[in-house]
Symmetry: C2
Subunit: 254 residues, 2 copies
């Protein structure tokens, strides 16, 4: 499985929105996709419409070696999309993980069990703690959603420092080869300036597709639906169709 960590410690930049909507779009196009939710908020899990009340095994149990991934992964309601869900018990795990052996590789050691999937997206929390580090160690590629606003640009340096530490000590194969510009508002100069700056800094790592600010993207999660099933005619849905095409080319050789 091609494994992509979707991370940025800046909050609210579109990490979950990218995971949910890219997964659904690639699933519709015939790929077998896994969304791994390692954020205690569990937004990818609920954004895909999964009902947590009847979940017994989850990401928490996998990273604490209490259950293999195969007994935690469940199908979603959407064609080609499965979920390794996050539940509330994940919230306490960073403290629990702090004291265990090889705490940074707890997820990586289980990736072999997921090789039947074409691609996996790991939805990270807005921090650079042990859960995000576990995702970076388990991943081949890093996708960084960057909101087209000032604070989001500021935080990129911190993320880069963590990434190079992970590459040096834990996962030398990790590539930062996917930057996505999100919440782009064509009416403001701010969006254009941030987009220009990001392209200057990350060059060909930046996807051509820009995700516009689009209210349909923020409405879809309240129905537990990816946008391509909620409003396929929306600008948000069209953007994720385009982005999925680029992901197919860049990461799945098509």
């Amino acid at each position: 499985m091609k494994t992509v960590a979707v991370a940025n410690q800046k909050g609210g930049v579109g990490k979950t929105t990218c995971c949910v909507n890219l997964a659904a779009e690639l699933g519709r196009q015939g790929k077998k996709v896994l969304v791994l939710d390692i954020d205690p908020q569990g937004n990818s899990t609920s954004g895909l419409g999964v009902d947590v009340s009847n979940i017994r095994n989850s990401m928490y149990h996998v990273i604490l070696d209490e259950t293999p991934p195969t007994s935690a992964i469940i199908p979603s309601a959407w064609e080609g999309v499965w979920v390794l869900p996050a539940t509330l018990d994940l919230a306490g795990s960073e403290v629990e993980l702090a004291g265990v052996m090889s705490r940074e590789t707890r997820l990586a050691r289980h990736m072999n069990a997921m090789k039947d999937f074409d691609i996996g997206f790991i939805d990270c929390p807005p921090s650079l703690g042990l859960l995000t580090v576990n995702a970076l160690v388990a991943a081949d590629s890093l996708m960084v959603p960057i909101q087209c606003e000032y604070y989001a640009l500021e935080g990129v340096g911190q993320l880069m420092r963590t990434v190079s530490l992970v590459q040096r000590y834990l996962n030398e194969n990790l590539k930062l080869d996917g930057v996505v510009l999100t919440m782009f508002d064509s009416r403001t100069n701010l969006s254009k300036e941030v987009a220009e700056e990001v392209r200057k800094q990350f060059r060909e790592a930046v996807f051509e597709t820009i995700i516009p600010r689009n209210v349909r993207l923020s409405e879809a999660p309240s129905y537990g639906k990816p946008v391509c099933y909620y409003d396929p005619g929306s600008a948000g849905s069209a953007a994720f169709r385009d982005l999925a095409e680029e992901v197919l080319e860049r990461w799945l050789d098509q």
Copy 2:
């Protein structure tokens, strides 16, 4: 000093925007205000225009008892507003704090040194880790910005659980008496539904003033200015003037 923690583990809901703009507005109205930045991203520090390159002492040194607050607090460029800045070294502090004695009260023990200020706002990171817990232990009141979107509503339960643990074990005086609705978009039903749900759940804790989505609020940080100095005629600035009035009444008995 009246101490208000501004916290919500959901990312990008307006925590920093509330701290920076409320502080500036109250400073203009003659109050002596302190912004304590305990988020390693340091967005409140830069949003107030503070240049971090010449900072020696910061929040990191205060919570690790290396320096008293008085030698870390600096004046901002804005009338009546001082800052206890965050710098990058704060990023590693959660791991460092995990092992020290009384790790949850590191900030609380220094609050006495800040009694000359009328009010302090502690800008928290998007997580419920040790830095946010330190802020909750040090605070009298908790302000929770809630973005008028679906995922932001989902996370409130987790925040409440952490708050009641803090009230039970570490700070029985902590009151959740300030909920602010942010990024309200009057064109969408989603905003209205979320606002209604939040008022139902938190009743009189919710401020009357609603902060509208307003591009001036996202532009101001790139100039290092609070919105009342960047564009005082904007809807964003007017909303924070109104919110400041409510804060004076509710927390400063005026």
